[in-house]
């Protein structure tokens, strides 16, 4: 039992470290990677749980990537798991930035580094579009018009109208709460 725990902790640390070391382009990029490792390969969490975690990470303060790794760790191995995942996620940027900070102008102006990063930009875009397609399919399966419409509506509100993420999340939760409230009232009045 003890060694089994240790193995789990070690793989939590390793995967989070690995993902974090390759997270270019912001918090959302970790979601497709988390899905690959924790949902598809290890089957420790399911797709829906990952989306719940993504939603919670957005609605709470702090970096989305760190919050998700904390929640995945917590779900898999409790508070210890959360701490281990968090350390794994924070360590790569901490180490890399510590090294770079001594000569950051040289790094910034390096042509090889900037061309590698330019290529990765397109790769980041592809991984995140791949994720959006799959997640959208999951939601369409529900055949609930409100949930289906909420995807383009949230997109429009955030991308074109620049409405704050938290406001969008609160508004959507409120609508869903209202829908379930009226549904249950209708059900009750029929009885």
């Amino acid at each position: 039992m003890k060694s089994k725990n240790l193995k789990l902790y070690l793989s939590l640390f390793k995967i989070n470290f690995y993902i974090s070391a390759f997270t270019f382009g912001g918090g959302y990029v970790v979601i497709p990677m988390m899905r690959k490792y924790f949902v598809n390969n290890l089957k420790l969490i399911n797709e829906e749980e990952l989306l719940d975690m993504a939603a919670i990470s957005q609605s709470t303060p702090g970096a989305i990537a760190v919050n998700i790794s904390v929640l995945v760790g917590y779900r898999i191995a409790g508070l210890t798991g959360a701490i281990i995942s968090c350390v794994g996620a924070v360590l790569p940027p901490l180490l890399i930035l510590t090294v770079i900070s001594s000569s950051y102008s040289a790094f910034r102006d390096n042509r090889i580094i900037s061309s590698i990063l330019k290529g990765m930009e397109a790769g980041v875009a592809a991984t995140i579009v791949d994720l959006v397609i799959d997640m959208n399919r999951e939601i369409l399966k529900d055949k609930n018009w409100l949930l289906t419409l909420m995807v383009p509506a949230s997109f429009f509100a955030n991308f074109f109208l620049n409405i704050n993420v938290v406001l969008i999340i609160i508004f959507c939760s409120f609508i869903c709460f209202a829908q379930s409230y009226f549904k249950s009232r209708r059900r009750r009045s029929k009885i």
Partner: protein, 187 residues
């Protein structure tokens, strides 16, 4: 020295607590604390840090706190600034997760979670679009002219998306491949 580290920690605790939504939304907040209020960095240094944070892996806020921490108080400063930055997210996301798990069998919480999932996909799509604009046009604004369209980036994007969908390839492997492609085509 100890006083500086405490001030650093509290300052990043504030940044962490008020940076909801992540990413670029946090930049003005960090700037206010680090440049305008404490004068730890000049505006030029801050701009450099943002550029480097975008170039290096890891969340923007974590990268910035490491950078500022190390300049002010060495490695210990970097560690405490980062700790301050992630602490409130760590605690609050676990509390919210526990709350949802406890009540997810009730109808209303179950429905709220479903709604959260949908809006979350919309928000991820929004973030994806920003990344697409930056990769294809080199700018995140929507008013882009076709003149500075980056054909190479579009080609790399299409090939990557194809191998991701068709062969279910590991995203990290895709990142390595696109990095190599970037070195070949852009250098």
């Amino acid at each position: 020295m100890i006083k500086t580290i405490i001030v650093l920690f509290i300052s990043f605790l504030k940044i962490g607590l008020f940076s909801i939504g992540g990413g670029y939304a946090t930049i003005p907040l960090i700037q206010e604390q680090v440049v305008d209020f404490h004068h730890w960095l000049t505006l030029q240094e801050f701009t450099d840090i943002i550029t480097i944070s975008q170039m290096t892996p890891g969340p923007l806020a974590v990268n910035t706190s490491t950078f500022v921490g190390i300049r002010i108080a060495g490695i210990l400063g970097a560690m405490l600034a980062t700790l301050g930055c992630i602490l409130s997210g760590f605690i609050l996301s676990i509390l919210l997760y526990k709350f949802f798990n406890k009540y997810k069998d009730t109808d209303s919480i179950f429905n709220i979670l479903k709604g959260l999932r949908s809006s979350s996909v919309g928000l991820i799509a929004s973030s994806a679009s920003t990344i697409l604009l930056i990769a294809f046009f080199g700018s995140s604004s929507i008013n882009v002219s076709g003149a500075n369209l980056n054909i190479t980036a579009i080609a790399i994007f299409i090939v990557s998306l194809f191998i991701l969908r068709k062969f279910k390839m590991n995203p990290i492997f895709v990142m390595v491949l696109t990095g190599i492609a970037g070195m070949i085509f852009y250098l």
